[in-house]
Amino acid sequence: MWVAKVDEGWLFGDLTPASVETLTGVPMLIESSDARVRGRLLPETCDGEEDEQHWRQHAVPELERLFLSRAQLVRRDLAQMKKMPESVNGLLLIPFEHVNAWLAALNAARLALYALNDMTAEHMTPEGFVTATPKQQEAALRIDLLAEMQGVLLGDDDFESAGSFEDFVME
């Protein structure tokens, strides 16, 4: 994978089929109805039962709507993904105005992968990775890939624009 800053946003190139598959999973992970995922993305927030119920009634529906709309935005950007010239690898543009939504979506997807695969903090370390199940190892690699993208979107100090998105797209 390579990254370029273009006039329209961030361009992620040479995304392997496995990376593309991880990215297309992002909206589905945000929308997951699995109790472990929901428990992390919409956690217990208040001490008392009454306060918690109030929170569930008043704050959670708005958060759910936000997550769904964010998933839709990510899905739309992914639908615009191009193929690299003469390659099966992908080319994804994340427009600047979508960066905040993507940052949160990538974070949600990483947390969801962690929860769905019953991972622990140890699995996120090199030592723990070795002892993880193959499924957990795969999840850890996906979590790392999404973190790499988050890292790019978080810090743009070292990048200058490399031109227009169209310069990178060859029909």
């Binding site: 927030t45 208040c46 001490d47 704050a59 947390l111 903090a121 978080l154």
Partner: protein, 99 residues
């Protein structure tokens, strides 16, 4: 209802000052092993308008202590902040300040 009416009558006759300030609430962010540290800092800056130093210091407190009180104040505003932090998927809870 009855008890409240009795209390009112009592305070009125003694002309005690009525200082019924609402208790403050803490917004608490908890550590998690997945969320990136610089993402947490960015969210603190964005949600609270904290400067880079304060945002970084609070992020480090979350990371090292497992949790940090990131804001304290009126309940309604505390709830708004919790919602904003959870919108960014920071593990956040709301807690009545002791005492």
């Amino acid at each position: 209802m009855t008890a409240r009416a009795a209390t009112k009558e009592k305070t009125d006759t003694k002309t005690e000052p009525k200082t019924s300030l609402a208790p403050p609430w803490n917004v608490i962010v908890h550590d998690d092993p997945v969320t990136l540290m610089n993402y947490v800092t960015k969210v603190f800056k964005q949600v609270f308008g904290y400067g880079a130093d304060k945002a970084h210091r609070l992020m480090m407190e979350v990371h090292q202590s497992g949790r940090a009180v990131v804001w304290t104040g009126a309940r309604e505003q505390a709830e708004m902040y919790v919602q904003k932090l959870q919108a960014h998927h920071l593990l956040t809870t709301l807690e009545l300040v002791d005492g």
